[in-house]
Symmetry: C2
Subunit: 197 residues, 2 copies
DNA sequence: CGTCGTCTGTACCGATCGGTACAAAATGGG
DNA sequence: CCCATTTTGTACCGATCGGTACAGACGACG
């Protein structure tokens, strides 16, 4: 620890987004160390120096990074932004950007469906409950009664995942945008009672 | 081919549901031949005798079986059932049963998200377009205008996938049932214009 | 510039991967 | 019962899996 941040730490931070992309594309089992090494440009030595726990620690670091990103960019604003409609708009905008308008899958959703489920169950569940609960809080402040807000929040989180699956399955990223468009009015209390189409 | 059906063919048919379950739980990469063999009770010899193409052929056979099941049990009724509301009710009931009320993931969705995407892209896309288009036809016959019907059909297929992801991520199968409950009124033209909640 | 801790490429580990070869065993028609 | 065919267990293949060991390259500090 000569300087403030060791090289290993910097390598770790730099590697995480790349690791995330590989896990996103191939799942946990499908992301081999060879692939992880190639894409990050790090040899095995460096990789294990930055992540002594191996592949499992890499996946955990990626999940932590994702959780932090959503917590600061989406969940916290949903809870704390004075104007809930601003927070809701921001959520939709940030979500669209994060998932590259449907061009990018959800790593957490992919892990939930298959191989990573048992291994990372706690983190996976926390990602979704965090989103759902923060969204429910915003919807309540926006004027929905708590029960309705909770229901719509779960619907929104579920719908986003569905949109990502469909966009990927049809190789049609625009399906994700259409899903967001359908979702938007349902999060608006003025349209919520009798949503038009 | 002494008798009408060879033993290999019978073994193949008997193995497919088990193979489906293993692929569902572990994904394509995660489902090893050892696991596939153990769960089907078939040795490598038998497995390769029934599926000469190996693991890829097993997955294809499973995807074909799934497509056939949905085609006969859901898509065809959606297209052909004289009373579209009967077909829609049947779709929801059959879907709930097929996915064990959220206790079972969707293999096609899991493949779409990760490892099987490139390998099985055509079959994956066909599964979803088949469902969406058959549903859109039923909704049109039920009274929605074609554009609205297509939109609601896409929404329904997407929502079902989202419900499965969420149910699995939260380890809360009931989330799938809640999603179906939200979906039902949106497929009903009498409630569709101003859906209550 | 020398030194010492950090970093990293490489060789290697046992296990397992998907797949093949093949001989023995089961099977069923004549 | 016989024999041809189908079915199956087992041994084995090269490749790759995740992970370890470690020697030497590197880099910051005295």
């Amino acid at each position: 620890m000569r300087s403030g941040v060791s090289k290993a730490e910097r390598a770790r931070e730099a590697a995480i987004p790349v690791l995330a992309e590989v896990f996103r594309e191939h799942g946990y089992e499908g992301a081999s160390l060879a692939l992880l090494g190639d894409r990050t440009g790090l040899g095995k030595g460096s990789l294990y120096h930055a992540f002594p726990g191996g592949k499992a620690e890499m996946a955990e670091a990626v999940l932590d990074a994702i959780e932090t990103w959503f917590e600061t960019r989406i969940y916290a604003p949903l809870r704390d932004e004075p104007d809930p409609s601003v927070a809701l708009d921001r959520m939709l905008t940030e979500t669209d950007a994060y998932f590259r308008s449907g061009g990018r899958a959800c790593l957490v959703g992919a892990f939930a469906l298959t191989d990573g489920r048992d291994r990372f169950a706690v983190r996976i569940a926390r990602y979704f409950t965090g989103w759902r609960d923060a969204l429910a809080a915003a919807l309540t402040r926006a004027g929905f009664n708590p029960g309705d807000a909770a229901d719509r929040a779960e619907e929104a989180v579920s719908a986003i995942q569905g949109g990502l699956v469909l966009a990927r399955a049809l190789d049609d990223p625009a399906a994700f945008g259409r899903m967001l468009a359908r979702l938007r009015p349902r999060l608006d209390p003025s349209e919520g009672a009798t949503p038009g189409r």
